[in-house]
Symmetry: C2
Subunit: 197 residues, 2 copies
Amino acid sequence: MAARFYAIKDEVRIIGFDDGPFRRGQETTLVVGAVYRGGRSMDGLVSTQVAVDGLDSTVRLASLINASRFRDVRVIMVDGIAFGGFNVVDIHGLYKDTGIPVIAVTRDMPDFNAIEAALRHLPDSQTRWRLIKSAGEPAPVETRPGKSVHIQSAGISVGDAQAIVKISATRSLIPEPIRVAHLVAQGIVSGQSKGKA
Amino acid sequence: MAARFYAIKDEVRIIGFDDGPFRRGQETTLVVGAVYRGGRSMDGLVSTQVAVDGLDSTVRLASLINASRFRDVRVIMVDGIAFGGFNVVDIHGLYKDTGIPVIAVTRDMPDFNAIEAALRHLPDSQTRWRLIKSAGEPAPVETRPGKSVHIQSAGISVGDAQAIVKISATRSLIPEPIRVAHLVAQGIVSGQSKGKA
């Protein structure tokens, strides 16, 4: 059963997650969650570590949110469907464990053939592949005229998810909570942020 | 000679620094710089470590900025005049080493008698005290009707500094770059941010 948004406010509270860069051989990597009022301003920040190519990202995010003062956010956004390499987020599981709808956002349409091929080199490749497929077919959201990002979602209608992504993409193609989480994770791990997220 | 601002834009680029919490006995603490367009949105993030009760905060901030892609910011803001306990920032030295004007912002008027007394327990107390005094008499800036913060500045007129603080305090009494740097430093070190900064 999906949470229903009768009216989506400009300042709908969102927590957006992204991971930091990591080197081969590193056991864990930083994951940052930026709590935002829509695409406008930061209300708070959370952080944790997930195992590189591990299987713990869903449980880490759920317990981070549930133990925090930000349990009242209306939406969880994740940048892509995996952190720390191929530590795939189970977006349906994350929704179930937190009661908060989840939207995964990617800039480009994922290349599922390439992902399936890369997964074969990892343990538990069937589990990872199942989680990726269960996230569903990516749907486009036109966040700027003629330019789209792609989303997968859990616990929320596609229409509501698209509306929230549009509202929060105030400064670039991607929602502000994810863009800022990316800058923070990179700036903390590398000493300075680089891309535009 | 102070940098002159002929017209201060709403999106004047500012880097705002704050430190993370630390425990007694810890050697260094995290310092975060949030690069903002005025009080509106984040352009990037930098980070470094400074020694707790050390004397390296000025040189650490200067080399962090000078080595970064954010050398073109127009203003450096620091939350208070010291990081990592009593690791005092030499705001005039930081201006000289970077060529970028510096504004130190405090919510309450500093209690200089209490600071001088606390410093006596530390090595190099004369050096620290001299840096604190050389930052000059704090000037009030009314960022909300009837509510003020206090600033000390280097390389910029008090009037320009006051205008920039007002422009960038979009969401609270204190400028957005500093408020967000505070949330990030706390969220990274403690796992979640707490205060409103």
